[in-house]
Structures are given as structure tokens and as C-alpha cells.
């Protein structure tokens, strides 16, 4: 069966879409599927970010191509932005600083945000209680669940660990 979009290549993906309550299935070739942003086994294998990255670069906002294809290499690990596009993986923490403008666009598109709202890491040795709070809260939560589950042996161990912290 030929691809129903281009009519040239063989269809390898069947796409079922529900339009106004009616399911419709079309057969597509790999390239046309990728253009519609559908991941195929082959595209996923090529890069973990699969169709997402290629779609992102195709639909880049006008006026921002340079920003989305930064030149140069990361001084931390030697990786280029092209390496990242090929593998879907950054080489080190420094890459986030070197390629920040491009990554910022990517993060906003993928996660809908660039701001972390979760727990914050406090480097060991920093004089602050931040990470101890997370630890105590976690142990208290485990203790409550252990008591609810009537696992008193675990509860006693958790109580000892909380005492060590106090």
C-alpha cells in the first residue's frame, strides 16, 4: 500500500484520528508521518527526542534560526549543538549554559515552562537547613505510612533515624 499523503513511498504507519466523533485511519510513509510529528520506531531509535526535535526545528519562529542552531563547542565536554541534535543528549551541566538560548526555546516548547518549581539542591557543606527539611519531611511521611500499614518494625527504624537527625 502506498502512503496516502504523498502517494509515492510505501505506507509503514497507520494513523487513526478521531474527527468529529468519527475514527478515520490513513496509511503514511515514514517521512510523511515524521512531518505530521508522529514518532515511528525508526525515528525514535535515531534520537530519544524523536519527532519532537525535528518538528521543533521545522517550526522554529521566524528570525530565530541562528539562536536555534548555536555554533561552537561546549568548553566543559567538547560537545557541539549538532551532537545534541543527533543524540538527543547533552554532554555535561555546562552545556546548559553554553547553549542556553536554544535550550530555553526547547524547554518552553516541551515542558511549557523554563522555571523549576520543585525541591532545591543545597550543595553539601553549605550552611543551611534546606536539604534536612526535605529529609525530615520524607522520613515523617514514611513513618506515618508505616504506622498506617501496621509495619511497626519499619516504623521503629524510621523513628530512630528521625531521632538521629534531631
Amino acid at each position: 500500500m502506498k502512503c496516502e499523503a504523498c502517494g509515492e513511498r510505501d505506507s509503514v504507519v497507520s494513523l487513526t484520528q478521531v474527527v468529529e466523533g468519527e475514527a478515520r485511519t490513513v496509511g503514511l510513509c515514514e517521512r510523511c508521518a515524521a512531518e505530521k510529528g508522529i514518532q515511528t520506531a525508526a525515528s525514535v531509535e535515531q534520537t530519544p527526542l524523536g519527532g519532537f526535535l525535528s518538528a521543533l526545528w521545522k517550526t522554529a519562529e521566524p528570525g530565530s534560526p541562528a539562536e536555534l542552531s548555536p555554533a561552537g563547542k561546549c568548553p566543559g565536554c567538547g560537545a557541539s549543538f549538532a551532537d545534541f541534535r543527533d543524540s538527543g543528549r547533552l554532554g555535561c551541566a555546562e552545556c546548559y549554559r553554553v547553549f542556553e538560548p536554544a535550550l530555553r526555546v526547547l524547554l518552553r516548547r516541551y515542558h511549557g515552562s523554563t522555571h523549576h518549581h520543585g525541591r532545591r539542591h543545597v550543595s553539601p557543606g553549605t550552611p543551611t537547613e534546606g536539604s534536612t527539611d526535605d529529609l525530615t519531611a520524607g522520613l515523617r511521611q514514611q513513618l506515618r505510612l508505616a504506622i498506617e500499614a501496621e509495619n511497626f518494625e519499619l516504623a521503629a527504624q524510621l523513628r530512630d533515624r528521625l531521632k538521629e537527625l534531631a
Binding site: 487513526t16 478521531v18 475514527a23 525514535v44 531509535e45 530519544p48 527526542l49 566543559g76 565536554c77 567538547g78 560537545a79 543524540s87 538527543g88 543528549r89 547533552l90 554532554g91 555535561c92 551541566a93 546548559y96 535550550l103 526547547l106 524547554l107 516541551y110 515542558h111 511549557g112 515552562s113 523554563t114 522555571h115 523549576h116 518549581h117 520543585g118 525541591r119 532545591r120 539542591h121 543545597v122 550543595s123 553539601p124 536539604s131 534536612t132 526535605d134 529529609l135 519531611a137 520524607g138 522520613l139 511521611q141 514514611q142 505510612l145 527504624q157 533515624r161 538521629e164
Partner: protein, 360 residues
């Protein structure tokens, strides 16, 4: 062969079916991706980087309560079947298990395990902290993994960015680094053909679904892994609450679908589940995929109260122990591909004979 007696419960405590909703939800997993500051991520790391990271992590693990007495298993020093066995138990990812003979595990690939908790080392990120719990147990899993993270974070400097949060090799994990997945059995929705609608709506609310073995794996036996898609912009608790809320809705839909099946086609369903049970009880050769599908039918029969006296634990155990590396481990030799179907059928018959009641 690997000595899993060093690992409490062999790392499969979650099989016992003791958790909430365990008739539908097999397990809950929470993982956190973490990297050590000052080292390149694994994709760019050298052998000595990897060794250094593993030794830093082992030192930290020895000093914290969550991993006290943990077993440390180096994948780069295990044979293929042993690595595959750990993967079949959901204790390491396929990437870390490296089952393909042409791409052996990289130096320093390891997993530290203690009870429900553990961490993979030198996987896609330096650390993948993980907790695996029976049933729908997002709160317990987060309490365990969150504590492990806080304890390790007091001893290890993690790569952390003030705006982006925890830095990960793949930007899809950045921020919290948290992926929570619930492994759920949805035969009712598959049989009533409602499943696509449900899966499509999951994607619309920011969740994703995968097969039994996570990323890239196929859906077999009507088991779906539902998890959060994004990791940045929401707190850990917001991500977990959202997933939990949606999973409870999906459970509701599955229960409705089962009521519809029992109401509209009771004879068909009863025949289907007993046929599955009959095949498992008497067949002499069963492929893995067939076993998964038959076990799905029996699990549905047990859930509907049609098949008595088969425990969820027995079904969970069959799911794990009918896989190739487990069959080889029980046989004490590496079994050839063509020996597996008969060995599998033997094991299933024996287990059901010992553990399941007979038809009243």
C-alpha cells in the same frame, strides 16, 4: 549465576500484591534523575569518570539510612542472562542491562538495591534513584525516593541550575528529574474498544503511556505504564497528584467497562477467561506473548470473581518468572530460544497446580 539472596526480597517485594488497588495496578515506580556536578554526563564520560562516579555513589550509599546494607551489582561484571534477569525484574533499564551482545555494558554500570529502593549508576544520567512499590502507591514511593534523594544530596553535589533545576543529560527530564509510572491492567477498556479514547485523552492532559518495559516497549497483555510526560515547571507533589488523579479516573473507566462486559456479554466473557485459564493449566508450549495474553485473561477472570482461588500474587509471579532469563535461571543453564516455550508451559502448569485451587 547472580546471587540475588543479597537483595532483600530479590528486589521483587512489589509482586506480593499487597498495595492499594493491586487487582488492577501492578506496581508504582518513581524515579529521579540526578547528575554529579563537575563530571561530564555518561554520554561523554570516560572509563575513569565512570569508576569515580560509582565509587563516590557507593561511599555515599554506605553512609545513609535509605541504602544501609544495600547490594551493589556491577552490570559490567555480570553475564548477559544475569543482566537480563535484573531487567525482567524491572530493577534496571534495558539501556543499563545492555542485552545486545554487540553492545556490552559500559564500565561502571551498576545498580544499588535495598528493599523497595535503589539507584542505577552510570545509566543515561549518573544516578537514577528509583522506588518500586506494590499497587497504586504514589505517596509511599515518593516518600521513599524523596528521602533517598535528600540523604544522598547531603553527601553528593548534584548538578543543579537555579532556574532549570536538576540538570539531566536529556532536556526532557530536567527540573524535578521525576518520572512516576503506574503499571495498570486495562483489559475491560481494550475489549470494549474504549482504550484509544482513554489513551488519547491521557496525552491531552500531559501524561504518556508505554508498554510493560517502559520507553520503546510494546503493549502486551493489556498492561499499560502511565506516567507524567514533563518534569519542569511543576513541583514533585503537583506532578504526582495529577498522575494519581488521572489514574483513579482510568480505574473508574476500567471498572465501568467491566460492568458493561458482564451485563452485555456475560457468556462470552466467562468463556474467554476460562479458556485462558484452561490453556495455561494444560498447554505444553507457550510463547511469552501468548502467556502474557492468557495471564491477562485469567487476571480479568479473577478480578470479575469468575475464577476463584488464584491469588494476584501468583499471577504477578507468573508474569515475571515466565520470561527467558528467569526460566534459564530456574533451569540452571542458559536455555536456547526453542526450549523456552515448553519450559514456560511446564513452569506455569506446576505453579498453578501448587498455588491455585481447582474448579469448585
Amino acid at each position: 549465576m547472580i546471587d540475588l539472596s543479597l537483595v532483600s526480597d530479590g528486589g521483587i517485594g512489589w509482586l506480593d500484591g499487597s498495595g492499594p488497588q493491586s487487582h488492577l495496578v501492578l506496581s508504582t515506580r518513581v524515579r529521579l534523575a540526578r547528575n554529579l556536578a563537575g563530571h561530564p554526563f555518561p554520554i561523554r564520560s570516560t572509563e575513569s569518570d565512570r569508576e569515580a562516579i560509582l565509587s563516590e555513589v557507593e561511599d555515599a550509599a554506605a553512609a545513609i539510612g535509605s541504602l544501609r546494607g544495600s547490594a551493589s551489582l556491577r552490570l559490567d561484571r555480570l553475564g548477559r542472562t544475569d543482566r537480563q534477569l535484573l531487567h525482567e525484574r524491572h530493577l534496571v533499564s534495558k539501556e543499563l542491562a545492555a542485552p545486545d551482545a554487540d553492545f556490552p555494558p559500559k564500565t561502571g554500570s551498576a545498580v544499588l538495591l535495598q528493599g523497595h529502593l535503589g539507584t542505577m549508576v552510570n545509566e543515561e544520567d549518573h544516578l537514577r534513584l528509583q522506588g518500586l512499590f506494590s499497587g497504586l502507591a504514589l505517596e509511599a514511593a515518593w516518600a521513599g525516593v524523596g528521602t533517598l534523594d535528600a540523604e544522598l544530596g547531603q553527601r553528593l553535589a548534584f548538578a543543579f541550575h537555579p532556574e532549570f533545576g536538576y540538570l539531566t543529560s536529556c532536556p526532557t527530564n530536567v527540573g524535578t528529574g521525576l518520572r512516576a509510572s503506574v503499571l495498570i491492567h486495562l483489559p475491560g477498556l481494550v475489549l470494549t474498544k474504549e482504550i484509544n479514547k482513554v489513551l488519547q485523552s491521557l496525552v491531552q492532559v500531559g501524561l504518556t503511556f508505554r508498554g510493560l518495559y517502559g520507553e520503546g516497549s510494546e503493549v502486551v497483555g493489556n498492561f499499560f505504564q502511565l506516567s507524567n510526560q514533563t518534569t519542569l515547571g511543576k513541583s514533585e507533589n503537583e506532578l504526582l497528584d495529577h498522575l494519581g488523579k488521572i489514574v483513579r479516573q482510568v480505574i473508574g473507566y476500567e471498572e465501568q467497562a467491566r460492568e458493561v462486559l458482564l451485563r452485555d456479554a456475560p457468556g462470552v466473557i466467562e468463556d474467554k477467561v476460562w479458556r485462558a485459564y484452561g490453556l495455561l493449566r494444560y498447554a505444553r508450549a507457550v510463547s511469552f506473548e501468548e502467556a502474557m495474553n492468557l495471564l491477562s485473561g485469567v487476571r480479568l477472570g479473577v478480578g470479575l470473581g469468575l475464577i476463584p482461588d488464584v491469588a494476584v500474587y501468583t499471577l504477578n509471579k507468573l508474569l515475571v518468572f515466565t520470561q527467558p532469563a528467569h526460566l534459564s535461571a530456574m533451569a540452571g543453564v542458559d536455555l536456547a530460544e526453542d526450549e523456552l516455550p515448553t519450559r514456560r508451559a511446564d513452569y506455569v502448569r506446576r505453579t498453578l497446580d501448587e498455588e491455585a485451587g481447582r474448579r469448585p
